[in-house]
């Protein structure tokens, strides 16, 4: 215990003297939580639409005004032919081209049917996909409107229309911030915890101070604990600041028990710090440690369920996600913050995270060699 006291004393003095670490711990959560949730919004707006209206009829006009009134689309071009409109897509100036054929109105009124042609620029996959869907649903609505209007009521019994009304539980207004903030906070805690620990030990290797430690009779687990505890505390501080920011700025208050949340994060941090420690035992320079940590972080973040839903990933990818500690933190954060989940709901992720913590830290202790 006494040895750990000396290690902690030393580590904290160094941390508090290192202005960049302090800045990272305080500024990073504030800035990232201020900017990212506002910018990283799934809702697609400003879809650039080019229209080729070969009909120029009141009906085609009505359709167009309905589309522009929706607020999702920006009319960037009004061309005479599809060929001209297509150059917009080629130059990446348009996301969608809507072609209204000649005789649109006449065929609609006389024959009761007509075809529209939508061309999607799929370079930006998400935008194209959502844009296409928005457009189709607007057209469908337009379709219903005119069916009622042009078909005389007596002659044509309006088709029974199935309208789906959905209610969004746990996030009734589909507020993306509510969804993003816990996820971004999860990644913040992971990044700061993992990187700080990995770089800290490797720095001691680079400077040569670790040799002075290795030549003392200090026990390996004492040394590792001496590194783990300070960064564990730091990680908790970052997390608390993050929660505070999301309450102050976004008014997000965890629905569930906040102690349960902190409890999970406490275990989770041990796992992430364990990874940082393990990486540091393999690396000799901060550069190496940085690249290896980035490698893991990229996978953790992209396969963590923050941006893309884990359930829609292919089976093999879901297996990989099972080994991604970040995915458990993100889902547990969302469960406790948005859904108010209780202890029994998070037992499985908690146990898995605890396993990560035990395995990673044991490997780190085993692989840390005082004698090479």
């Amino acid at each position: 215990m006494r040895i750990i006291k000396f290690l902690l004393q030393k580590e904290f003095k160094q941390i508090f003297r290192n202005k960049s670490i302090l800045a990272m711990v305080i500024v990073m959560p504030v800035v990232q939580l201020l900017i990212l949730p506002l910018a990283a919004d799934y809702e697609v707006k400003n879809i650039n639409l080019v229209v080729v209206d070969a009909d120029h009829s009141p009906y085609s006009q009505r359709l167009l005004s309905k589309i522009t009134a929706s607020g999702y689309f920006k009319l960037t071009g009004f061309e005479q032919s599809f060929k001209e409109a297509f150059t917009f897509i080629e130059n990446d100036k348009a996301d969608l081209v809507l072609e209204i054929p000649a005789g649109f109105e006449r065929a609609l009124v006389r024959e009761g049917s007509q075809k529209l042609h939508i061309t999607v620029n799929a370079i930006n996959g998400v935008k194209a996909n959502l844009g296409g869907n928005y457009l189709v649903s607007i057209i469908r609505e337009f379709n219903n409107d005119i069916r009622i209007r042009i078909m005389p009521l007596g002659r044509f019994n309006a088709q029974p229309v199935l309208e789906t009304v959905s209610a969004n539980w746990f996030n009734p207004f589909l507020n993306y911030r509510l969804y993003m903030v816990p996820g971004i906070l999860a990644i913040l805690v992971t990044m700061i915890g993992g990187f700080l620990t990995a770089l800290n030990i490797v720095k001691e290797k680079e400077v040569g101070t670790i040799e002075q430690i290795n030549v003392t009779p200090i026990k390996k687990h004492h040394f590792i604990l001496g590194k783990l505890i300070p960064f564990w505390i730091l990680g908790n501080v970052v997390f608390s600041i993050g929660l505070l920011v999301s309450w102050l700025i976004y008014g997000i208050v965890p629905l569930g028990n906040i102690f349960l949340l902190f409890g999970f994060v406490a275990i989770y941090l041990l796992a992430v710090l364990g990874l940082g420690l393990l990486v540091s035992t393999f690396c000799d320079t901060q550069q190496q440690a940085m690249f290896i940590m980035f490698f893991f972080m990229m996978i953790f973040i992209l396969l963590g369920g923050l941006f893309t839903s884990v359930d829609s990933m292919p089976q093999w990818a879901q297996v990989i996600v099972g080994f991604n500690p970040v995915s458990y933190l993100i889902s547990v954060m969302r469960m406790i913050i948005l859904k108010g989940s209780e202890a029994q709901n998070i037992i499985r992720p908690l146990c898995i995270t605890a396993c990560f913590a035990i395995v990673l830290n044991s490997l780190a202790v085993l692989n840390y060699k005082k004698t090479s």
Partner: protein, 246 residues
């Protein structure tokens, strides 16, 4: 009968095909100042790291302060001090904090720590620098501090790897005064150096060439054997035989 505190037999370290230390055998006695000389790349640091329990030998035998390098490296570490080629105290801690930290992890009590810190600071004349960051000290002071920290826990043996590299002659002289003081207290000093005047201060010296010990005797005997008046000349005659360079 002199007490043997370091004893090696055919101690060897290989890195792949490269034999950094090739079957070195020697004994060092208690309270002795043992100079370990050799050109750059001759294998001095490798040999020293094996003796400190930082590096596991490939083959051979060695016992340090009565403990075996293969089986009891952690017990060896309790009984030795080490000062590496690179300055390795914490630059972002103050003089006092470094003393407390290293004393603390060697298991000194609070009372011992206070006592040792006061003695050390007075001895080195660092009263005004105790609360300054080590980074702000001149190199000579850093080295003296590093040595004092290495002997803080009263080790039986202290290993010094080129402790005076880049230090001015006056400070070097003062550094050697510290070494003599420690030796008088019964601490065995194992030191590598490139300065031949320092070699003359040693009780016995060994000269390593290409991973082997080529000569081992008192400075005066060596000068007799190689029929010359200066240690420099002895070193030239031996080091010239070296085939490998760094």
């Amino acid at each position: 009968m002199k007490e043997v505190v370091i004893k090696t037999e055919a101690l060897t370290k290989r890195f792949g095909d490269f034999v950094a230390a090739n079957a070195i055998s020697f004994e060092v006695y208690k309270g002795e100042i043992f100079g370990f000389l050799g050109a750059n790349g001759a294998g001095k640091t490798t040999a020293m790291r094996m003796l400190c329990g930082l590096s596991i030998p490939t083959s051979g035998k060695a016992s340090i302060a009565g403990f075996d390098v293969f089986r009891q490296p952690e017990l060896i570490k309790k009984n030795i001090g080490y000062m590496s080629q690179r300055f390795s105290l914490y630059e972002d801690l103050t003089v006092g904090e470094n003393i407390t930290f290293f004393g603390g992890i060697y298991g000194l009590s609070d009372k011992q720590l206070r006592q040792k810190k006061d003695d050390l600071v007075t001895n080195l004349g660092l009263q005004n620098e105790v609360n300054k960051l080590v980074a702000s000290l001149p190199l000579g002071w850093k080295q003296k501090l590093a040595f004092s920290v290495a002997v803080l826990h009263d080790p039986k043996i202290v290993f010094l790897d080129e402790p005076t590299g880049g230090v001015d002659p006056l400070t070097r002289r003062q550094f050697w005064d510290l070494i003599y003081e420690a030796a008088e207290r019964g601490v065995t000093i194992f030191v590598t150096t490139h300065y031949m005047d320092e070699a003359e201060y040693c009780h016995r010296i060994s000269i390593m060439v290409d991973g082997k010990i080529e000569a081992l005797d008192t400075p005066s005997n060596l000068k007799k054997i190689y029929n010359t008046g200066s240690m420099n000349d002895v070193f030239y005659q031996l080091a010239r035989k070296a085939k490998r360079s760094d």
